[in-house]
Assembly symmetry: C2
C-alpha cells in the first residue's frame, strides 16, 4: 500500500451520532487526503444509503457486514469476549491483519483499547501502550500521554511513553526534534515519585532518543513549555479533564459577563468576529483523535460525541501517522532507548 493511498478501517456503528458522522467524516477526510480508501464496518441497511448520498465515496468505500456492535456501557472485558462480530472488532481486525493501515472508532474507549491490544499486541520494545492526544497551548499545540491507558507506571513505562510521544509529535505536528518533559510537582531534580526521577535520569543519558527538557508543573501544559508532556495514565486523565472543565467554566464566565449590561451586549456584537476566531482556536473538534501508541498497528479513538468534522480530524491524525512513518520512527526510538538504558553500556557479567 502506498503511503499516499492509505486504507482506513472505520467502525461505522461507534459513537453517539454514528453512523452519520462516520460516513460524512470520511467524505471530509478524503477532501484533505484524496488518495484515501475506506473499509466501512457495520449494518449495510444503514450504511449504504449514507454512502450513496456521497458520490465521491462510492468508488473508494467497501461496506463490510458486521452483525453486532459494542455499546457504550459494555465492560471492556465483556466486549472482548462477546463482541467478536461487532463493527469495532472487525474494523480492528482489518488493521491488525494488514488489510487496512489504521482503524478509527468513536465507540467505547475501554473496549477499543482492550480489543486493539488483544488483536494488535504491543510493539517489540514497548511494554505498555499509551493513549495520546493534542491540546491547544499558548505556543500552538502539544502532545500529552498517557491519558488513561495505564493508571500506574514505572520508570521504564514513562521512558517509553517519552519515545512514543516524540515520534507522534514528529509524525503529526511535523516537529523535527520535539522537546519532551515529565509532569511533576516541581522542577527541582529531587522532587516527585521515584519512577519519575528514574525516568528522567534515563532520558538524560547519552544516546537518549528524545530531546529531554526536564520536569514540568501543571501550568507548563497550557504554556506549551514542551512539545510532549509525559505522565502516568491517572495523572494524565485527571489533567486532561481538568483542562476541559476549566475551559468550559471560563467560557461560561465570559458569556455571563457579557450579559450583565446593555453596553456589554453591544460590545459582544462588535466583537463577534473576535469570538468566532477564539472559538476556532480552541475548537475541540480540531483536537479530536486520541491514539493508542505502542501497538503493532494504528488505532485511533474519536470522541464519542464528535460531529463529522471532528471525526474527519481523527481520521486525519491516523493518516498523518501512516504518511510520516510513525511506526518506523517509534521502533527506531525504542531501540535507541534500549541502547541508552542504565546498565546497557556495561560489559555483561561485570556488574557488581
Amino acid at each position: 500500500m502506498s503511503r499516499d493511498q492509505a486504507v482506513v478501517a472505520l467502525d461505522g456503528m461507534g459513537g453517539d451520532n454514528a453512523p452519520g458522522i462516520v460516513v460524512d467524516g470520511a467524505a471530509l477526510a478524503r477532501e484533505r487526503f484524496p488518495g484515501t480508501r475506506f473499509l466501512l464496518f457495520g449494518d449495510p441497511a444503514r450504511l449504504k444509503p449514507l454512502v450513496d448520498r456521497r458520490k465521491d465515496l462510492i468508488p473508494v468505500t467497501e461496506i463490510v457486514v458486521a452483525e453486532d456492535q459494542v455499546t457504550p456501557d459494555d465492560k471492556p472485558s465483556l466486549a472482548l469476549r462477546r463482541r467478536r462480530q461487532s463493527s469495532m472488532w472487525l474494523a480492528i481486525e482489518a488493521a491488525a491483519q494488514g488489510r487496512a493501515d489504521l482503524v478509527v472508532s468513536a465507540g467505547n474507549t475501554g473496549a477499543l483499547l482492550a480489543m486493539s491490544m488483544f488483536q494488535m499486541r504491543t510493539l517489540a520494545g514497548a511494554h505498555r501502550p499509551a493513549l495520546a492526544s493534542f491540546m491547544p497551548t499558548a505556543r500552538g499545540e502539544s502532545v500529552m500521554l498517557d491519558l488513561g491507558a495505564n493508571l500506574e507506571c514505572d520508570a521504564e513505562n514513562l521512558a517509553e511513553f517519552a519515545v512514543m510521544g516524540s515520534a507522534f509529535a514528529q509524525a503529526t505536528l511535523g516537529i523535527d526534534r520535539p522537546t519532551v518533559g515529565l509532569l511533576n510537582v516541581g522542577s527541582e531534580e529531587a522532587k516527585g515519585h521515584e519512577s519519575i526521577r528514574e525516568a528522567a535520569a534515563w532520558l538524560k543519558r547519552d544516546g537518549s532518543p528524545v530531546v529531554f527538557h526536564g520536569f514540568l508543573e501543571g501550568d507548563d501544559i497550557g504554556a506549551g513549555t514542551v512539545d510532549v508532556v509525559v505522565t502516568d495514565g491517572f495523572t494524565g486523565n485527571v489533567a486532561l479533564k481538568t483542562i476541559e472543565g476549566t475551559a468550559k467554566v471560563y467560557t461560561n464566565f465570559v458569556r455571563d459577563a457579557f450579559r450583565t449590561s446593555t453596553f456589554a451586549k453591544i460590545g459582544y456584537l462588535f466583537a463577534s468576529g473576535a469570538w468566532s476566531k477564539l472559538r476556532q482556536r480552541v475548537d475541540p473538534r480540531r483536537y479530536n483523535g486520541a491514539v493508542f501508541l505502542g501497538l503493532n498497528g494504528l488505532s485511533v479513538k474519536s470522541h464519542g460525541g464528535a460531529d463529522a468534522l471532528g471525526f474527519a480530524y481523527a481520521i486525519g491524525v491516523g493518516i498523518d501517522m501512516v504518511r510520516h512513518s510513525f511506526q518506523d520512527r517509534l521502533t527506531d526510538g525504542l531501540n535507541r532507548l534500549r541502547a541508552a538504558a542504565p546498565g546497557a553500556d556495561e560489559p555483561a557479567g561485570e556488574t557488581p
Copy 2:
C-alpha cells in the same frame, strides 16, 4: 482568647513583596475583623516605619525581633535545622505555643510545612497533614486537598483528608453539610487505584462523618460538582497548577481575539464593565490562602507573589477557621471516622 479577637502571628519577612504587603494586608484584614491583634515577626528597622504609617495598627500590633529569615531557595530540611531565629520559625512558634491563634506566611512553602509540622505536630487521629485551598467553580467555590504535602497517599490518608476538607468547608465557606468527592479517572466503582476505592468504601460506611458523593473526574472540579475535592498531593498539585495554567492561556486567547480588528477593539471598550466583573470573579487574590490541615495549630500559606489584598484574604481564611471552631470540628470528625472504620464494629479478637 476570645474567638472574635483572634491573635495572628505574621511572618513579616516572607514573600516576594514583604514586608510591605504583610503590614498592609494586616491593616486590610482588620477592617473585616476589627477585634484582631497581630504579632509581627521580623526586622524592626523595616517593620516599624510600615506599621507607623497605619495608625489603626499601632495599638494592636506587637513587633517581635527576628534576626534571620527563610529564603525562597532554602531547602525545607536545611531551613528546619538552620533558621531557628527566622521570622517564619518564630511566628510558627508563637502559634504552636498558644500565644497566637494562627500563623500566616507568604514565604517558602516547603519550609513553612516542615517547620509547622515540626513545631505543631499532627493532630491526634490525623496521620498526615494536607494542604488545602479554594478555587472558583461554575457553582461558586470549592475546596481541594491535598495540594502537595503528600505525594503518595493510602486509603486512610485520603479518608482523613475528606474529614479535614469537610471541616474546612464548614468553617470557611459556611456550608453546613459539604459534599465530598474523590478524584478518579471515572465515576464507576471499579475504577482507579486501590487506595481510592478503599477510601470510598470507608467514607460510604454507616456513621461516616462526611457527605460522600462518590468519584469525580477532572472536569468535575471546575463544574463544582462537590464542595470538597479529595486527592493525593501529586495529583492535587498537578490539577491545581493545570487549572491556573489553563485559565491564563484562555485569558490570553480572549485578549488576542479582541486585538484582531477595529470592530473587536470597539467591542472591547463597550464591554469593559463586563471584563472587570469577570476579572473580579476569577481574581486569584480572592482565592489566596492555602492552609495546612491536621496539625495542632493553624498554619496559613499566602501565595508568595500576593499583594496586600491577597495577603488580607489569607489572614481572613485563618480567622474564619478560628471563629468557626475548625479544630473542634476536625477532632470530632476524625473521631467519628475512626468509629466508622472498617473493622471497628467487629468485636476484638474475633477477626478471622
